[in-house]
């Protein structure tokens, strides 16, 4: 366990200095801030209209001068922005996971740094789990950050469907973890960019027309908060429990597959 933690800490340290990752993180946070601004503007518009209605009512006006459907439109915009926020968070989490998990072992293989590490008494399983754990910790940190942003958003603007928005970071984390584990496996066979693309398309959604594959490949449906928000579907606590168990199940299986590959993998001269 000691080796796992040491390798995980080293992985977090390396990811902290990953320039592409940092740029991506800043961009995704900027994107989320943009969506928050959109929600904020829509909320202000709604408040302004409610204020105008209240003034009309206190003045005893019989008729409204503005379009009565505009309130509904403003509320729809807010729901859309909330959905976009959850979607952006989820998409950013997925891309972040792909960048991290696809490079977390393969970058060391290609630079050759792995040989110095594995020449120490580090079992291969500890190395693999440590690298995975380090990337998972960074992903978790991102989701906590995104969760904090969504909490601030919800409290500041009394967002409708807050329950859904609150579950978005956790579901995004779970979905990204599964996607990352798939990417990790591919990166043990092919180059990281190819592994990322392959992992993205290794989904039951893409192969819904092919029954045997559809049954085997991971489904990202349980983690789709964006669609739930847009359709107005409620995601109860039970859904979160099932999605979490589904994630655990898949990640364990995927890590075992990665281990089977990695334990017999040949570590040759770097490129």
């Amino acid at each position: 366990m000691r080796f796992v933690l040491l390798i995980a800490l080293d992985t977090m340290r390396s990811l902290r200095r990953h320039r592409v990752l940092l740029a991506f993180l800043i961009l995704s946070l900027a994107g989320m801030a943009l969506v928050v601004t959109g929600i904020s503007n829509a909320m202000q518009e709604l408040e302004r209209k409610e204020h105008v209605h209240a003034n009309y009512a206190s003045a005893g006006a019989a008729t409204r001068t503005d379009d009565p459907t505009s309130d509904i439109k403003a509320r729809e915009i807010i729901v859309t922005f909330n959905g976009l926020f959850a979607g952006a968070m989820s998409l950013a989490g997925s891309l972040l996971a792909l960048v991290m998990f696809c490079t977390v072992v393969s970058s060391e293989l290609h630079t050759g740094t792995i040989r110095v590490t594995l020449a120490k008494p580090v079992p291969r399983w500890a190395y693999l789990v440590g690298r995975w754990l380090g990337a998972t910790a960074v992903l978790a940190a991102y989701c906590v950050l995104a969760g904090a942003a969504s909490a601030v958003l919800g409290m500041r603007y009394h967002v409708q469907g807050m329950g859904l928005l609150a579950s978005a970071p956790w579901l995004s984390f779970c979905g990204s973890l599964v996607l990352g584990a798939v990417g990790l496996i591919y990166s043990l066979f092919v180059r990281a960019p190819v592994a990322g693309v392959l992992a993205w398309f290794t989904s039951a959604t893409w192969f819904s027309w092919l029954p045997p594959l559809y049954a085997v490949l991971p489904s990202y449906q349980p983690f789709d908060v964006w669609q739930a928000m847009m359709l107005g579907t409620s995601l109860g606590p039970w859904h979160l429990v099932v999605a979490t168990l589904y994630t655990l199940d898949l990640v364990v299986i995927l890590l075992l597959i990665a281990w089977v590959r990695f334990r017999r993998m040949e570590i040759t001269e770097p490129d």
Binding site: D10, R17, R115, V116, T117, L118, A119, P121, V122, T268
Partner: protein, 300 residues
């Protein structure tokens, strides 16, 4: 006890017929300094990678201190410096040694002490707080050497260790390896620098096309059957007689040197000298250099 044992170790990459290493049988005793020589592509690095379990043998097995090479715990006794060294560039030099020290399960206090000693010894004091990404190739190699020595290894495996070192650093490296040898540590060096191997190693193996071409102690391998006999001035007619016996004769003033290619020639020459009353002043065995042996083996 053997520090390294290779039993019929073979490695084939891919599905082709070409073996990178073929049926390597090798034993390195504890406390021995062993040199692994061979031209590029001879299988030296493949052999080292098999010993460290980076790659898996197609046939045969490799043991370190009697344990299979795949046993991770044994590697706590091993120090390794790879040929194309690549270290984590996001660390500072001193922190990187701390990280590797932790992986080697060295207690923190001892880890700090050893790291400080090695940094000082290898002239890395000034750059220890700098990021590894800013290091020159030579400095990086010295840091790589420091990490290989961090656990005071019982077995030190060095793959082309001095290829990017300046003469001063090369001298320091040789000194450290000699010290380790004196302390009974085992050293396995793969190198192209034959002079370095010749001065450091007790035994050498020469690989050629993935197979073991020569193995033995330097004394045995470099000795030749050629013998030089030093005598005084030769009486008339003896020079021609010695030459007909197959000897090479060179004269400098009153001194004559008779060079015999093997034991048969030597016996005949000695008999001829004795019959003409010429005494042998000194007998000298001729030795070849490691370079001569290497060229002879590789060219064969």
């Amino acid at each position: 006890m053997l520090a390294i044992e290779a039993k019929g170790l073979s490695k084939r990459f891919g599905r082709g017929d070409r073996f990178a290493l073929r049926d390597l049988n090798l034993g390195v005793e504890e406390g021995e300094a062993f040199g692994l020589l061979g031209p590029n592509g001879a299988g030296k690095t493949t052999a080292l990678h098999l010993l460290l379990d980076f790659i898996h043998p197609t046939e045969g097995s490799a043991l370190l201190f009697g344990q299979p090479a795949s046993d991770a715990r044994t590697r706590a006794r091993v120090g390794y410096l790879p040929q194309s060294l690549s270290l984590h560039t996001y660390y500072r030099g001193a922190d990187l040694l701390q990280f590797y020290g932790a992986l080697l399960e060295i207690p923190p206090a001892l880890r700090k002490e050893r790291a400080a000693m090695l940094l000082q010894r290898l002239g890395l004091d000034d750059v220890a707080r700098r990021r590894v990404s800013t290091y020159s190739k030579g400095t990086l190699q010295r840091l790589g050497f420091a990490q290989a020595l961090l656990n005071d290894p019982d077995l030190l495996i060095l793959d082309e260790p001095t290829s990017s070192l300046d003469p001063l650093a090369r001298h320091q490296f040789s000194e450290i390896v000699r010290e380790l040898k004196a302390r009974g540590k085992t050293v396995l060096v793969s190198s192209h620098l034959l002079s370095e191997v010749e001065t450091l190693c007790d035994r050498v193996a020469i690989l050629k096309d993935g197979a073991l071409a020569r193995i033995g102690s330097l004394g045995d391998l470099l000795a030749t059957p050629r013998v030089r006999l030093h005598v005084g001035r030769l009486p008339p007619g003896l020079l021609e007689e010695l030459m007909t016996l197959g000897a090479e004769v060179s004269m400098a003033g009153a001194q004559t040197t008779v060079s015999c290619a093997d034991e048969t020639v030597r016996t005949r020459v000695a008999a001829a000298l004795e019959s003409r009353g010429v005494g042998i002043e000194r007998t000298e065995s001729e030795c070849r250099s490691l370079e001569d042996l290497f060229m002879e083996t590789v060219a064969a």
